[in-house]
C-alpha cells in the first residue's frame, strides 16, 4: 500500500493524499471492450487519486476513456485488472449487493438526463437513497440542502413540473443528502442552456467549498471544467496531464494539444 501511495503521489498531483484516504482512487486500472479488430483498450494502466473535499473534472475527447473511468470508479462497471478505492474502501472485490450498499451510502450521482424517477415528487426523489437503505432523513441537513439549492418551494412537484435546471438541482440535492464520500457527475450540464448550466455548476462548486463535498465530474465542456479545483486530462485510455484551477483558455489550449 505504501508503495502504491508513493507511486500515485509521484504520478499524480503534488498535493494528493494517500489512496486509502482519497475520495476515490485507482491503481493500474485496465479495461478493454470487444474482441479482435473491434477491440478497444478503454483504460490503459490508469493510476489516479481524487482528493477529498475537492471538485475534480475529467476531460478528454470522445473515446478517451473518461466515461469508462468514471463508471469503474462508481462501481457501475468492472475493470479487467487493477484496484479501485472509494473513501478508503477497496471496491474491486465487492459483489453486487455490497456494491449496491456502497452506492446508496457512499456515492452520489448526477447524470446528464433521466436523473429522477418521474412518478415521485422532488422530495421523494431526494430522499429515495435513504428510503432504499431504510434509514432516516436528517431533517436539518435536508432543510439546509434544499434551501441552499433553492428547492424549498418545489418539493411537492413532480419532475415534469420542474424546469431542466430545477430537475438537475433536485438530482444534486439527492446526491448531497447522504453526505457521500464522492459525488459523480456525468455531463451534469449537458442538457442545460449555458445560464442554467452555470447555476448548477456554481452549486457544485459551493458544495465542495462550503460543505467539503468531494465531486468528480466528467465533461467535455471547458467552461464547466473551469469551475473545478483540478482538471484531469485523458486521451486513448490513459492519463495525459492535469491542470490546477485552470481558466477556460488554459483548458482549451490543453485540449487542443491533445487533439493535435
Amino acid at each position: 500500500m505504501t508503495t502504491s501511495t508513493e507511486q500515485s503521489l509521484a504520478s499524480g498531483a503534488s498535493n494528493g493524499s494517500g489512496k486509502s484516504t482519497a475520495a476515490a482512487a485507482t491503481q493500474a486500472l485496465n479495461k478493454t471492450y470487444g474482441t479482435g479488430d473491434t477491440r478497444v483498450h478503454a483504460l490503459k494502466n490508469v493510476d489516479v487519486a481524487f482528493q477529498s473535499g475537492k471538485f475534480t473534472a475529467i476531460m478528454g475527447p470522445s473515446g478517451s476513456g473518461k466515461s469508462t473511468l468514471m463508471h469503474c470508479l462508481a462501481g457501475l462497471d468492472t475493470a479487467d485488472s487493477g484496484k479501485i478505492w472509494i473513501g478508503g474502501t477497496e471496491i474491486t472485490a465487492l459483489n453486487d449487493n455490497q456494491l449496491t450498499k456502497l452506492r446508496r451510502e457512499r456515492v452520489g450521482f448526477v447524470f446528464q438526463a433521466f436523473n429522477l424517477v418521474s412518478t415521485l415528487t422532488a422530495e421523494q426523489n431526494i430522499t429515495l437513497p435513504i428510503a432504499l437503505a431504510g434509514g432516516t432523513v436528517d431533517k436539518e441537513w435536508f432543510r439546509y440542502v434544499t434551501s441552499t439549492l433553492g428547492l424549498a418551494d418545489r418539493l411537492t412537484h413532480r419532475p415534469h413540473e420542474l424546469s431542466g435546471g430545477q430537475q438537475q438541482r433536485v438530482a444534486v440535492a439527492r446526491a448531497l443528502l447522504t453526505r457521500p464520500d464522492v459525488i459523480f457527475g456525468d455531463e451534469p450540464t449537458g442538457n442545460l442552456d449555458s445560464k442554467v448550466g452555470a447555476e448548477v455548476l456554481s452549486l457544485l462548486r459551493r458544495s465542495a467549498t462550503e460543505m467539503g463535498q468531494s465531486i468528480i465530474m466528467v465533461t467535455h465542456d471547458p467552461v464547466a471544467a473551469s469551475y473545478a479545483d483540478r482538471v484531469v486530462l485523458m486521451n486513448d485510455g490513459a492519463l495525459v496531464g492535469e491542470l490546477e484551477r485552470p481558466g477556460t483558455e488554459q483548458i482549451l489550449a490543453a485540449l487542443a494539444k491533445l487533439g493535435a
Binding site: 457501475l76 424517477v117 418521474s118
Partner: protein, 840 residues
C-alpha cells in the same frame, strides 16, 4: 420501494388498465361460475322450502311405510310439540265455467303458526271453501265467491260429469302461487282436510307429504327432535326423518342438485382457460412495462436499490393491480348474477330464483386473481432485476432486457410437443379419449412454450404480403417482429382461444359428418311414416299426394307389402319397391334384383322364402348394416309371386305389413325447418309425431344438440378470446408509447397521419391474423384427432372442416386486430412531429 411501486401504479394507472381488464374478466368468469351452483341451490331451496317455511320441525316419510294420521297422533303427544300440521295433497279434477281441468289440492294448516300461504285477498278457506292461486284465478276469471266443483283427479272426467257429481266449493281466497315444486305448473287449490278426505279414493290417494310441527315456546329444538323421533319409533315408524325446516330444505335440494356439480366442473374448465389466457396477458404487459422502465430501474439501481428491492417493487405493483382488479371482478360477477337472477325472478316459471354469494366463491375469485397476477409478474420482475445500473447512462436504444431462460424453455417445449404428439397419436389410433386428452394438452402447452420459434418467422412471412402497400406496409411488417418475444407472447394469448374455438368447431363438424353417414346407414330413407292413422285408417296413395304438397318434400312413395315370410319365427310382411321408389333410398348403392331380398343386420339367414298370392320364391338375403330396415324386395318379385291381399287386423303379420309412406326431403333443409315439416306432416296425415322417423329426422335432432353445445362452448371460450384481444391492444399501445420519437421522426420525414395509423393497424392485424391462422390450423388438427379419439370406436371419422365458421373466426380476429389498433394509433397520430421529437 413501496413508495416507488405505489407511485408507479397511481401515476401510470392507464398503463395498468389492460392488465386489470384481463384480470377482471377472468376473475369475474371464475366467480360467476362458482356462484351458479350456489344460486341454483338457493333457488331450489326457495322453491322446495316454500311448503314448510314456518314449521319448527318437519317429519318426512321414510321408505318402509308412508306417513299417516296415526303418525300424526303419535307426534302430537311428543314433548314440546304445540301444533301439528299433516300436510296432505291430492290430484283433483275441477269444473269451472263449464270446463273441466286438473289441479293439485293441498290442505291448509290448522293454525296460523304453521300456515305457509300468502293471502292476496279473502280469508283462509273453511269447510266447502277453497283458496286458489292468483295465476289460475286470473286465467279462469275466478274471484272470491266463485263456485267450483271438485271430483277425484284420476280417470277421464268430462266437464258435465264434474259439474253433475262434483263436490261444490266456494272460492274464499286468492293466494300467491306456491313455489313448491310439487305444486308448481298446475292450478293450485288449498282447502280443509275434510275436502281432501271427501275426494280421496283409490284412484287418487291422499298423499301425506310431511308432518309439520310447531314447538311450544322455549322448547329446545334438539330435545324436541329426539322426542318426536322416539314417539314415531314407539308407534312403529322406524324410518321417518325429523328435520328442522332448514335441514329439510338442504336435504331435498341435495337430492335435486347432483347434476349442477357437473355443470360447475365443466364451467370451471372454461374459467381455467380464461385465467390462463389472462395470466399470459398480464405477464406480457408487465414485461413491456418493465422494458419501458429500464432506464428508471437502472437509475434506481444506481442510487442504491438492490435486486431484491427492484423485484419486490414490481411484485407490489402486480399485487396492487391484482387486488383492485380481483375485487372489481368479483363485484362484477355478483352484479352479473344479480342481474340474471332479477330477470329470472320476473318470469313466472322461475320467480323462486335466488342469488347466493357463497364466501368460498368470493374468496376463490379474489385469491386466484391476486395469485395469478403476482405469479404472472414473477418472470417480468426477474427481468427487471437483470437491468444493469449502467443502463441508466446509456442511450435508450441500446437497452434490451435479455432472456437467459429462453433455451431451457425451448428445449422443454419441444420435448412436450414431441411427447404429447406421440401420446395424442396413440389416443387417436386406439380411439381412446382418455389417452388423447392429456397428450393433446401436453403438445399444446409445448407449442405455446416454443411459440418464439414459429410465430415471428410466420409474421415476417405473412408481413411480406403487406409490401405492396409501400413504406407503411414494410415498416409494419418489420415493427411487428421488432421484439420477437413480445410478439410471440401477444400472439400466444390469442392463439389459445382461437385454437380451442376452432377445435370445438372442427370436432363438432367432424362428429356431425360421422354421425350423418352412420345415420344414413341406419335408416332406409329420410323420413318414413308408418303404422295406423289416429282414426285407425291406413296410409294410402292419397297420403302420397298430401305429403308432396308440403314444401321441402322432394319425393314420396307408398310402400306396400308384396309378400309374406317367416323371420325369427314371426310371420312378417315383405315390402316391395318399384324401380322409381328406389330413388327414395338413402343408400343408392343398394340394388334389388329379381332374386334378392334386403334384410336388416343380424338375420343369420342366407335365403328367405317369400310367399305371394299365387306362389312363393326363395330369395338370396343381402344384409344391410342397419337394424331399422324392413324386409325389402323388388316389385318385380311381387308380380311374379302375386301381390297378396292385405293381412287381417288380428293376424300376426298385421302391424309389420301396414303400408308405409317413404319421403325424401330437400338436402338444404335445416334442423328447425325439418322439425317443423315433421310436425306439419304428422298433423296433415293424421298420425302422431313419433310415427315419423328416419335419417333426416334423427340428423336434425342430433344437429340441434350439436349446434346448441357448440354455441355454448364458443360463447364460453369467447371470454378467453376477448381477454387476448385486450392483450393485443395493450401491447400495441405500449409499443406506440415506446416509439413516440420514431413515429415523430417518420412524420417529420413525410409519413402522413393516415399512413401512420395504417401502419399501426397493419401491425395489429398481422399479429392477430397470424395468431388466428396458427390457431385455426392447430384447432383443425386437434378437433379432428379429438373426434377420432372420442368416436373412433363407433364409426369411421373423416376430418371435416367447417370452412364458413373458420372464415368467421379469422374475420373476427382481423377486425378485432383493427379495432385494437384504433386507440393506440389515434394517440400516435395526434402527436405533432415537433412535440414527439422533443419528448425525451
Amino acid at each position: 420501494m413501496l413508495q416507488v411501486a405505489l407511485a408507479q401504479v397511481k401515476q401510470h394507472a392507464r398503463r395498468f388498465i389492460a392488465v386489470a381488464l384481463a384480470v377482471v374478466m377472468a376473475v369475474g368468469f371464475l366467480t360467476a361460475t362458482l356462484m351458479v351452483n350456489a344460486s341454483t341451490e338457493a333457488s331450489l331451496g326457495n322453491s322446495v322450502g316454500a311448503g314448510f317455511r314456518n314449521a319448527d320441525l318437519v317429519v318426512s316419510s321414510g321408505l318402509d311405510k308412508p306417513l299417516d294420521e296415526r303418525a300424526a297422533e303419535a307426534v302430537a303427544d311428543a314433548d314440546g310439540v304445540a301444533e301439528v300440521y299433516v300436510q296432505q295433497q291430492t290430484h283433483v279434477a275441477f269444473g269451472a265455467a263449464g270446463e273441466a281441468s286438473y289441479g293439485a289440492l293441498q290442505n291448509t294448516a290448522p293454525s296460523a303458526g304453521l300456515d305457509h300461504l300468502e293471502l292476496i285477498e279473502g280469508t283462509l278457506p273453511g269447510s266447502a271453501e277453497v283458496a286458489v292461486d292468483d295465476a289460475t284465478a286470473e286465467r279462469l276469471a275466478l274471484t272470491v265467491g266463485s263456485q267450483l266443483e271438485f271430483a277425484p283427479g284420476a280417470g277421464m272426467a268430462a266437464a258435465e260429469d264434474v259439474a253433475a257429481s262434483g263436490i261444490p266449493a266456494t272460492v274464499s281466497a286468492i293466494v300467491k302461487a306456491s313455489k313448491d315444486p310439487l305444486m308448481m305448473g298446475q292450478p293450485q287449490f288449498f282447502g280443509t282436510s275434510g275436502l281432501i278426505a271427501a275426494l280421496a279414493g283409490e284412484q287418487a290417494p291422499v298423499q301425506v307429504r310431511s308432518i309439520q310441527l310447531d314447538l311450544a315456546a322455549g322448547t329446545d329444538t334438539a330435545t324436541a327432535k329426539d322426542a318426536v323421533a322416539a314417539a314415531l319409533a314407539a308407534a312403529g315408524f322406524a324410518e321417518p326423518t325429523v328435520n328442522t325446516a332448514a335441514e329439510q330444505t338442504k336435504e331435498v335440494v341435495a337430492s335435486f342438485t347432483g347434476g349442477t356439480d357437473q355443470l360447475t366442473i365443466v364451467l370451471l374448465a372454461f374459467a381455467l382457460v380464461a385465467v390462463l389466457v389472462s395470466a399470459l396477458v398480464v405477464a406480457n404487459t408487465f414485461s413491456v412495462l418493465i422494458a419501458q422502465r429500464t432506464r428508471e430501474l437502472a437509475l434506481l439501481r444506481c442510487i442504491g436499490a438492490d435486486r431484491g428491492q427492484i423485484r419486490r417493487s414490481v411484485l407490489v405493483e402486480a399485487l396492487l393491480v391484482g387486488v383492485v382488479a380481483s375485487v372489481i371482478g368479483v363485484l362484477g360477477a355478483v352484479g352479473l348474477m344479480a342481474g340474471i337472477i332479477a330477470v329470472l325472478q320476473g318470469r313466472p316459471d322461475t320467480e323462486f330464483a335466488a342469488l347466493a354469494v357463497p364466501p368460498l366463491a368470493v374468496a376463490v375469485g379474489l385469491v386466484t386473481g391476486v395469485v395469478m397476477t403476482v405469479l404472472a409478474a414473477l418472470a417480468p420482475a426477474r427481468a427487471a432485476t437483470a437491468v444493469a445500473p449502467l443502463a441508466a447512462l446509456r442511450p435508450a436504444e441500446d437497452v434490451r432486457v435479455g432472456n437467459r431462460k429462453g433455451k431451457v424453455r425451448l428445449g422443454f417445449g419441444i420435448a412436450l410437443v414431441v411427447g404429447g404428439a406421440v401420446v395424442l397419436g396413440l389416443g387417436a389410433l386406439n380411439a381412446n379419449l382418455l389417452i388423447a386428452l392429456p397428450g393433446g394438452a401436453m403438445s399444446f402447452i409445448g407449442l405455446l412454450l416454443c411459440a418464439t420459434l414459429f410465430v415471428p418467422p410466420l409474421v415476417t412471412a405473412i408481413g411480406a404480403l403487406a409490401r405492396p402497400l409501400g413504406v407503411p406496409g414494410k415498416l409494419a411488417a418489420v415493427n411487428a417482429v421488432r421484439n420477437p418475444g413480445r410478439t410471440s407472447a401477444t400472439a400466444t394469448a390469442l392463439l389459445i382461444g382461437v385454437t380451442l374455438v376452432v377445435m370445438m368447431m372442427t370436432g363438432a363438424q367432424t362428429a356431425r359428418t360421422a354421425f350423418e353417414s352412420e345415420l344414413s346407414a341406419q335408416y332406409p330413407v329420410d323420413i318414413s311414416i308408418g303404422n295406423l292413422a289416429e282414426d285407425g285408417g291406413q296410409l294410402d296413395e292419397a297420403a302420397v299426394q298430401t305429403a308432396l304438397t308440403y314444401d321441402g318434400v322432394a319425393a314420396a312413395g307408398l310402400i306396400t307389402t308384396g309378400g309374406y315370410a317367416t323371420l325369427n319365427g314371426q310371420r312378417t310382411g315383405v315390402y316391395q319397391l318399384t324401380p322409381a321408389q328406389r330413388e327414395l333410398l338413402q343408400d343408392h348403392s343398394l340394388t334389388l334384383d329379381a332374386d334378392t331380398v334386403l334384410l336388416a343386420e343380424g338375420s343369420g339367414l342366407d335365403t328367405l322364402t317369400v310367399t305371394g298370392s299365387s306362389g312363393s320364391k326363395e330369395l338370396r338375403v343381402v344384409e344391410v348394416s342397419s337394424f331399422s330396415f324392413p324386409p325389402l324386395m323388388s316389385s318385380a318379385v311381387a308380380e311374379e309371386i302375386g301381390v297378396p291381399a292385405p293381412a287381417a287386423a288380428d293376424s300376426e303379420e298385421y302391424y309389420s305389413s301396414l303400408p308405409q309412406l317413404w319421403l325424401s326431403v330437400d338436402r338444404d333443409l335445416d334442423a328447425t325447418a325439418l322439425m317443423e315439416l315433421r310436425s306439419e306432416l304428422a298433423a296433415g296425415l293424421n298420425v302422431q309425431d313419433y310415427q315419423t322417423s328416419g335419417a333426416a329426422i334423427e340428423r336434425a335432432a342430433f344437429n340441434q344438440i350439436i349446434d346448441v353445445l357448440l354455441l355454448v362452448v364458443t360463447g364460453l371460450l369467447a371470454v378467453a378470446v376477448l381477454i387476448a384481444l385486450v392483450g393485443v391492444a395493450n401491447t400495441l399501445s405500449l409499443s406506440v408509447l415506446e416509439r413516440t420519437q420514431e413515429s415523430s421522426l417518420l412524420r417529420a420525414l413525410g409519413l402522413t397521419r393516415n399512413q401512420l395509423r395504417g401502419m399501426l393497424a397493419l401491425e395489429a392485424v398481422l399479429i392477430a391474423g397470424v395468431a388466428a391462422l396458427i390457431g385455426s390450423g392447430l384447432g383443425i388438427l386437434y378437433g379432428w384427432l379429438g373426434a377420432q379419439s372420442a368416436l373412433g370406436t363407433f364409426t369411421a371419422v373423416v376430418p371435416d372442416v367447417p370452412w364458413l365458421q373458420l372464415g368467421a373466426v379469422l374475420a373476427v380476429a382481423v377486425v378485432a386486430g383493427l379495432l385494437a389498433s384504433v386507440m393506440p394509433a389515434r394517440r400516435a397520430a395526434r402527436l405533432s412531429p415537433v412535440e414527439g421529437l422533443a419528448t425525451v
